[in-house]
């Protein structure tokens, strides 16, 4: 899968894998739990406007990097949309992180539990 998600006591850490680090210009994102509003499994992001790209890559159903939509900066690293999760942030450079993960239902449940506790 194109991203690993690590949950420490203090932070949510999202790391693109392999060449996705290159395409997205991002080694990892470290987000304090009190800046994480929640996470949702949402394959319907496929139909959402992606805005303009910069910097990053967009080829078919692969999107990696920073996208600007409706005046907001969003970080995307997805390959296809079936396993897409949306992580909504506050007080961060990105308002939203949209990534593909291995087990979306389990990941959003774990993130929701950690975010609710902070």
């Amino acid at each position: 899968m194109s991203n690993t998600v690590t949950m420490t006591d203090t932070d949510l850490v999202i790391a693109p894998q392999g060449l996705d680090k290159l395409w997205s210009f991002t080694g990892s994102l470290t987000i304090p739990w009190n800046h994480v509003r929640g996470a949702t499994h949402d394959p319907g992001m496929k139909s959402e406007p992606k805005g303009w790209r910069g910097p990053g890559l967009r080829v078919g159903q692969k999107l990696s990097g920073t996208f600007h939509a409706e005046g907001e900066r969003q970080f995307w690293n997805v390959s296809g949309f079936e396993n897409t999760i949306v992580i909504e942030l506050s007080d961060e450079d990105y308002t939203r992180v949209v990534i593909s993960v291995e087990d979306p239902a389990a990941q959003v449940a774990q993130i929701a539990a950690r975010a609710a506790a902070h």
Binding site: R37, G38, A39, T40, H41, D42, P43, G44, M45, E48, E70, V86, E88, R96, A105, V108, A109, Q110, A112, A113, A115, A116, A117
Partner: protein
């Protein structure tokens, strides 16, 4: 957070309670939530942050209504879904679910069981669209 024109939070939370109570939490996609509640995806994420948070706010609304004696089958449906699907994942969800159980079922396990059975056999004349 920008609210869409004509946004009525109480109506959205009542609609969410009905949708999740009838269909469950995991089984309902974001697309179904948006179509049912009349929200755009952008507004949904800006206002609620996640599907978990929308569910939690709908359940908090059920608790507030129960405190003034307003408990109906839709409220009870949401409480049993909270017990089955969300309470096991975190202490915060569990605490809220147990508060709702106390308010809507007086913490009576037999009442919860009877409601589960009645929910299972209740006819639905107008099923919501599936995805």
């Amino acid at each position: 957070m920008g609210r869409p024109r004509g946004f009525d939070e109480n109506q959205v939370l009542l609609g969410a309670a009905e949708l999740f109570g009838e269909r469950g939490f995991d089984a309902v996609s974001v697309d179904t939530v948006l179509a049912s509640l009349g929200l755009s995806r952008a507004s949904f994420y800006k206002i609620y942050g996640s599907k978990h948070r929308l569910f939690q706010m709908a359940l908090e609304n059920v608790c507030h209504r129960a405190e003034v004696g307003q408990v109906d089958d839709r409220a009870k449906d949401l409480v049993v879904v909270a017990l089955l699907e969300l309470a096991p994942i975190s202490r915060d969800h569990r605490d809220l679910a147990l508060r709702a159980v106390e308010l809507c079922f007086h913490s009576d396990a037999r009442c919860i069981g009877e409601h589960l059975v009645s929910r299972a056999v209740r006819p639905h004349d107008d099923p919501r669209p599936t995805r």
